[in-house]
Each structure stands twice: as structure tokens, then as C-alpha cells.
Symmetry: C2
Subunit: 414 residues, 2 copies
Amino acid sequence: MKQIALLGFGTVGLGVYEIINLKRGAFFSSNDAPAKVKWILVRDINKRRTYKPTDCTLTDNFQEIINDDEVDIVISAMGGMEPEYTYIKEALKRKKHVVTANKEVICAHIDELTNLAKENGVKLYYEGAVGGGIPIISSIIETLKINKITKIQGILNGTTNFILTKMSKEKADFAEVLKVAQELGFAEADPTADIEGYDVMRKICILASLAFHTHAKTEDVHLRGISNITLDDVNMADSMGYDFKYIGQALLKDDKYSISVTPVLLPKDSVMCNVNQEYNVIMLYGDIIGELCFMGKGAGKDATANAVVSDAIKAFTEEDTQKHINFNETAHSYGLSGIKNQYYIRATVNNYEQFESTIDCAADTIKKNNLTYTNSKVFFTTELINSSDMLALYEKLKTVSEDVFYARMEHNLL
Amino acid sequence: MKQIALLGFGTVGLGVYEIINLKRGAFFSSNDAPAKVKWILVRDINKRRTYKPTDCTLTDNFQEIINDDEVDIVISAMGGMEPEYTYIKEALKRKKHVVTANKEVICAHIDELTNLAKENGVKLYYEGAVGGGIPIISSIIETLKINKITKIQGILNGTTNFILTKMSKEKADFAEVLKVAQELGFAEADPTADIEGYDVMRKICILASLAFHTHAKTEDVHLRGISNITLDDVNMADSMGYDFKYIGQALLKDDKYSISVTPVLLPKDSVMCNVNQEYNVIMLYGDIIGELCFMGKGAGKDATANAVVSDAIKAFTEEDTQKHINFNETAHSYGLSGIKNQYYIRATVNNYEQFESTIDCAADTIKKNNLTYTNSKVFFTTELINSSDMLALYEKLKTVSEDVFYARMEHNLL
């Protein structure tokens, strides 16, 4: 009987406990290695709980857990950097397999922790850290056995997808929809990590690190949130046949990578554009297999617990599915240069002549299509331009406008 | 060095040879066990070939291959029932692992061949048989470790998806589009297996067998092709906000299953409706994980070869990923009874009063919505009705109409 120590008894921890000890689902009947949660680490053992397990020990003392030689595997689902980062390191050093859903820890320390696991002959799995129940990490690892992956792109956050879906379907504005999302539990009281993109940033960095064999750092990510998307933008996109989605993208070109987390206009008849509500979708491109795309619930107790328990089952078998994973490539971030996109731009402009003269005196005049000037706002789309030219244009626009918003327009997204 | 015998040197065989022996992609650098194709079985060794391998032996003699004790694994990609079914059995009996993309053999003999593999302590993998490069079989097996799967549904044939996409986008009729598909190589000279649904039928039976732990038989499948879809149907669907897709569906309820392969109207803003051209998409529903959806190229040399080589790599490792697969459940097909759907119906009617009186004299009058009568054709949609009632209505309509077409209308498909 494999003994499991569970760190954290929140949403994910409870889901894991239910599947393994309470025999929800097929885990009990489908697998060779019977397993049991023996310990659960909580911060406050006296806290009033809706469910209090009687078949394992709740403790607030990590040492008690880590000193138990019977424990084969630590499932870590506390959230936040510390003390979970320290606990994960300790567990690996004590030669216990670790399964975690903590994207913050993995994003920052994927290289170090992977090496620590290898040095100690144990496994470190983190499927639950990205995309909830979607098996994206195991799919990337599987795909890498035959392919070079040069692109990963997707909708990786349920909160912002819920918000953008609602803004589009109901033609409602951001502040109003955020409030509804919070009331319904789709957004946190402090929604910053979701709406400013830190959550997506961590996830896309983890995926890029695996796919490009290099530890992708969050400092290299071009990051813009969704709070500046207005109802005018949504309506303008709609009139052109597009909807806004919040997209994490990682590209590899030669030995250089580029990662961005930004609002993007997707064609209404693309697959990705129709992934709505709290669903996530991730597309990868491999040189042999072409495009592969995965969709499902990106968060939530059951979907994430499913990924975590799936990893635990893998940890019990002899073969390490991640033994070929390394972060040894010396790929460097190249920012956004060299990438050409079409862009949508909106700027508040009180003096139209001043706007025109400022924009047009650029050495290369950027052709403005679909130009509309209404309610003191200028809306236009560009041709395919280099992203560095877009950044330069953005800086220029900010000199004549108090409020500038831009987003790239995607085509042919599956 | 693992020695591979390749049966068949057509599209898939060539793709496999390129990845393994010609080192296309990352196979050579990404994997522990170096492997080499040692034999290739062809029907005619004198046939003029664009590429003639010099690093392995072409033979038309299966015995030569099967008697070679150095051969660890047989990759079987010939197509058709015989001699491939016999060769696969022979290889398993000689304790060689088998990887195949042959859906006809697997669909008909999944139970027998799985047992034969187990008896001989070898592996039988067939990811390439369904959905090209999409890892649907391994995903079902993985999902089953924790979930009960009660629904699988998808677009599983590139030829018919190409045809229906073109009919919809260009408002062209079936015969015209089929011809273009054939010219472009998206449809065979004899397209029967694709357009009448036999290809999808075999694929959905394989997936249902795995997911429901019972050998699903093709005789139990409710099967209707796409050749009766007219431009009128496409336009009518379009006006209601739907498009036609060709859907394989498998449902499990208690210990009964139901499998169908039919044209279906999908809402234009659903994910599945926007999977176009030669792409496939498969959705599964598990009781813990909820909906998971996978998309990619469903056929083609590289995508299918990727699946096959991926299986070969798995076969080289010690752990059998399919050891828990069994077909021991005594689930029976329950046809379509008990399933309620909304239907679209079109019937050629020369005598409208006769049509009305025939339909209305049913004991339960089926409410007809969106009724249109034009060009001697009646078009209408029903409310949610039992599928057995739909079949009865269909039979009744055939007594007053020389040409009746119907298709269910799906809602909320991701």
C-alpha cells in the first residue's frame, strides 16, 4: 500500500483525498498499486471543517510527515511560494516523490527542482500546475519524443475567459462583468493575478520551459492585462468578425524564444475563439505531428485533482516519464522582434490633426485600415508590421493620447 | 538496438521509416533505446519506388521476417483485413510486440488480439488507428485510471469533414464538392468507406470498446452517410445558426451502450462546429474530469506515423500502458432508445395535404417547428423527442415521400 502525504487541504487537496481515500471515481478499481493518504498537512488543525477525515492524520507539523519513512510520495497543493518551495525541496532530498499543482514554485524553480529530483532518484510531476485537468504537460513530453515544438499558444485562465466571454456575448463592460464574476466565484476578491496576467504568465513559462528545453523566466515575458479592454473595443472587434481572448503564447525560432501574455483578437469562426466560460484550450505545433489542440476545464477541484492523482499513479510505476526532460538549451529570449502581426489599435484623441501629424511623421508610415474616429476615440487596424514597430507606434501614440490600447489580430488559429 | 520489422511501405510505412531510420524529427536524439527498421514487407519487391531504402531489407516474404529472432517489434501498416490480421496474430504468438494503425483489424478483433498479446507477454498498441496524430487512445486509457467515461463524440474522418466544410463555406452541393475533394486527394476514387461512414464506424467502435470495457460491434451501430445532405439542407441549417458535421458518438448508460455515426447539426458558435477541413476532433466525458477535447490532423503520413512511432517507443519501455485494458463488461447495445434529441427533417412532398394527414394521425402528434414548404420540399424541426419516435416518424414519412433526410441538432457542444 503506497502511503501518501498531502500538503494542503484546500480545494485540490480535498479533491485528491476524495478520489484516493473516499474512492470517488475509478481510482480504487483501476490501478495495481493500492494507495492511501496517510497524512494531511494543514495550517490550523483546530479550524472548523465541513469534512474531517477519520482515516488519516491531520497535522500542522511538516517534520512529523517528512520523518515518516513509510511515506512514498508527497502531494503538494498549498499554493504560494513558501513554505511549499521549502517543503518540496525537503521531500525530494528525503527521496520522496513529489506531485504538485503549484505553478508559482514550478515556474520559478523548474530547473533546480528537476535536478534535485534526478539527483535523489525520485520523480517530480506537476500536471496540475497548468490547465487543470487537461493533460498538457504529459502531452508536451510525449510529443517531444518525436518532434521539435516551436509554438505553444492558448487560453490558460478561466477567470479572464469567463469575463471576456460575457463581455462579448452580452456586450457588457469590464467592471460590470468582473463584479458578476466575483459574485459567481469565477474571480477572486483580489483578481490581479488573473486579470493582469501573472497566472497565465507562470503557466506559459512552465510549458515553454518544457517544450524548448530551457528555463523560461517571467522577466522575459511581454505581459499586458485585460482591464483596459472596453465595450467599444469589443463592439469594434465584433464588427470586424473577431472576439477578444486572453492568450499566452510561446514561440521558438532557432535558439531564441519569445513569450507573451496579451489580449488577442481571434476570428469568430476559429476553434479557439469558441472556447468559452471557464474552459481552457492549448495548442502546440510540432514539426512532424503539426498542430495538436487540447481543451477542458482549466481549474476547479475535480479537474485539478484528476491531474494530480494521475501524476501520483505515474509516480508509483517504475518508469520515470520525465527522465528526458532537461533545461540545458541555451536559448535566449528575443523579446518580440522579428514577429510580424496585424494589430488593432484604439486611442483617445482630442485633437485629431495632432494625432495624424504625430503618426504620419514616422519614417515608415504605418498604413491605417478601418479607421474610425468617434467619441474622441480613434480606432484602426494596421497591416502586418513588426512587433518592435508596434511598440514604437504605441510609445508615439502615448505622447498624443491619454489612453491607448492595442492587440494583435490572429488568423487561421485552427 | 531494437530491431523493427515494418509491414507495408505505403504512406504510413514511409513516414515511420523516415522518423526512425532517416532521423526525421527528434526521435533519434530524444530516446533511450536506439531503434532501427531492419525489414520492410512489401507486396512487390520489384515495384518502382520513389525512395528505395538501402539500410534495411525489403522482402515480400513474411516468414523471413517472423523467423528472425532479432526482431523485437512488428509495426503493421498494410491496411485491409488480410493478410494483416493473420500477420498480427502470428507476430503476437511469436512474442513480438505489435504496433498497428489498422482500424479494420482492431475494430473486429480488439478483444481476441488483446488477449493474445497478454497471453504472450507482449504489447499491442494501435494509437494510429484512430484520429491520426491525436493521442486519443492513450488519453482514454489514462482517463480510465480515475474516471468512468460515459460519452465519446467527435469528427473522426477528414474526407467528410473536408466535404462538409466546403459545402457550408461555399454553399456548394455534395456531388460537386466530392469531385473537388477527389481531385485534391482528400477523397478516394471510391469514397464509400468515408462518405457512408464505415471508417468512422470502425474508429468509434474502437474508442467505445476501450472506454466501456466491452467489445463494441459494428452491427450495433446506427449508421447513416452524408451523401443525402443537399445544398437546401446546408442553407436551412445556416439560417438557423447551425452547420452540418459528421459525428461518431458513443454513449454509456448503466450497463448499456449506444453508438451512432450520422450527420448532425452543430451550433455555429460551438467549438466542434469550427473544426474544419481535414482536422479531427474528439471529446470525451469522464465523471471526475468532466469534458476533455482533443483536436489535430486525423490522417496523413506524418501525423499517423507520429502516433505509430510514439507507440513503438512505449513498447520498448518495460511498463505496459495498456495492461488494465479489458473487454470483460457485459454491456449490451441498447440502440437509440431512451435518448431524446431535437431533429431537423427534410422531405420531398408532392401532396402537402397527404403529408399533413399522414404525420398528424400519429397518436402523439410531433410538434413541427420552423416549418417551411418550398420547391416541393417540407423542412421542419421537432421538439426534444425520443430517438425511437424519430425512427417511427421517419418510417411514416417514407410512405408519403420519396426522399427523406433527418439529422439531430446538438446544443452546448463545448
